[in-house]
Symmetry: C2
Subunit: 239 residues, 2 copies
Amino acid sequence: MSADLSAVKVLVFDVFGSVVDWRGSIERDLSAWGKTNHIQADWGGLALAWRSLYQPKMQQVRSGQRPWTLLDDLHRESLEELLPKFGLTTLAPDDLDHINRVWHRLDAWPDAIAGLTRLKSKYVIGPLSNGNIALLANMAKHAGLPWDLSFSTEWFKAYKPMPAAYLGVAQAMNVKPSEVMLCAAHNDDLKAARAQGLKTAFWPRPTEYGSAQTKDFKAEESWDIVATDIRDLAHQLLN
Amino acid sequence: MSADLSAVKVLVFDVFGSVVDWRGSIERDLSAWGKTNHIQADWGGLALAWRSLYQPKMQQVRSGQRPWTLLDDLHRESLEELLPKFGLTTLAPDDLDHINRVWHRLDAWPDAIAGLTRLKSKYVIGPLSNGNIALLANMAKHAGLPWDLSFSTEWFKAYKPMPAAYLGVAQAMNVKPSEVMLCAAHNDDLKAARAQGLKTAFWPRPTEYGSAQTKDFKAEESWDIVATDIRDLAHQLLN
C-alpha cells in the first residue's frame, strides 16, 4: 500500500456491477419467477435493455429537466417503456411491482462479501450508489452485504457523477476528500471521484454486461489501487 | 408478539442511554486518559453536567433560534462552557478535541450487541439518533454495533422529537410509519414516535444517570413491546 493511502478512513463502493451482479441476478430471478408464473420472456435481454435506460433517465434529473426522482421510480418508468418490446404488456400491476423490485434482490459477486468483511475490520465501509435508500437497504439484506452505513445519493439529492455525491460522503464523515476512497469497477465513476480529491480503487468486472460489454475491462488511469476483485482489494489494503 | 406488529420491517433505535452507556463510558474513558496525562477532574460529574446541556442546546436549533448545527459542535460548545466549573481551563485545543470525541467512543450496554445481532436476522436495524453521521459511524465501529444503515437526524436536519425525524425513516425506507418501530429506553422519545404512527418498544436503563436518575424507570404508556433489555426485545420479536 502506498504511503499516501494511510490516511484513508472511509471506503465507499459503487454497487451495481461493482459489488453485485445485476445482469446475472435479474436473469436468474425473473427466469425462476417467470417459470413459476408461466410467463416467458427474454429476461436477460430485458436486464440489458433496462440498464441501457439507466444513465439517460438519471441525466434528466441531473440536468434539472425534472425534479429529484428516486431510482425505483426511474426503473419503473423504464420498465413500462420496455414492456411492448418484450411482450409483457398483459402483466398485472402487482407483477410489475415484483419485477421492478428485482433491483432490491441482486446477488453479490462471489468475492464481495469476504472482501468487504475483511475491509470492515479497519475501515468504515458503505455503498455510494445511485440506488435509493430503501433499495440499498433491501439489497444489503438480500445479499448479506456487511455495510456500516449507506451513502445512497438519495441523501444528497445528486446522482453520481455529480460532485456533490462524492463530496457529500467526506462532509458527512467530517473527513477530507482524500480520506475517502471510491472503490468501483467503472473508470468513469473513479474519474469523477478523483476530480473531487477522493482516492480511488479499481477492479474489473469483465462479464458485467456479458457479451455486450464494451468497456471497463481494465484501469484507464493510474488509480491508487488496481485489484483483481474485492478480496484482492482487501489483501492490498490490509497487508 | 401481537398480531399488529407482524408488518414491522424496520427497527430504529435511540442510542444514547438506550444502546450505549454514555455516562459510564465517558467516566471510564476520560478517567483513564486523565490518569495517563496527569489531569485530575470529576469526570463522572462532567459527563452528567455535559448531558444536562444536551436538550437545551438542541432546543436552540429546533426552535429556529439558530441554524442546523451538528451535535459534535453543540457538544463542543457545552464542553467549553463547563471547563471552568471542572477546573479544566488550561487544556490544549487537541485535548479538548479528544475529550469532545469521547461521544464517538461510547460502549454498548452488555445486552445490546447480542440482541441487535439477533434482530438483524429479520429486520433492517439502524440508529435513529441525534448523534451526527460521523459520530454514529465511529461509535458503531468502536462499540461493534451491527447496524444495517444509519438514520442520523443529521440526514433530516430535524432533531428528535421533531416529527420529521420519525417520518423521515418511513419515507426513506418507502414503508408506512406503522412498519417502523422505535426502540428506546426513553418514554418521551416513544411518545413522539407513536404520535407519528410508529410502533414502539421500551426497556428501562435504570442506571443511565446513576444516582441522579429521576425518570424512565418504567413504561409510562402501553408501548407495543415492553422488554427488560435488547436481548429480551429480540426474544419477544423473534419467538
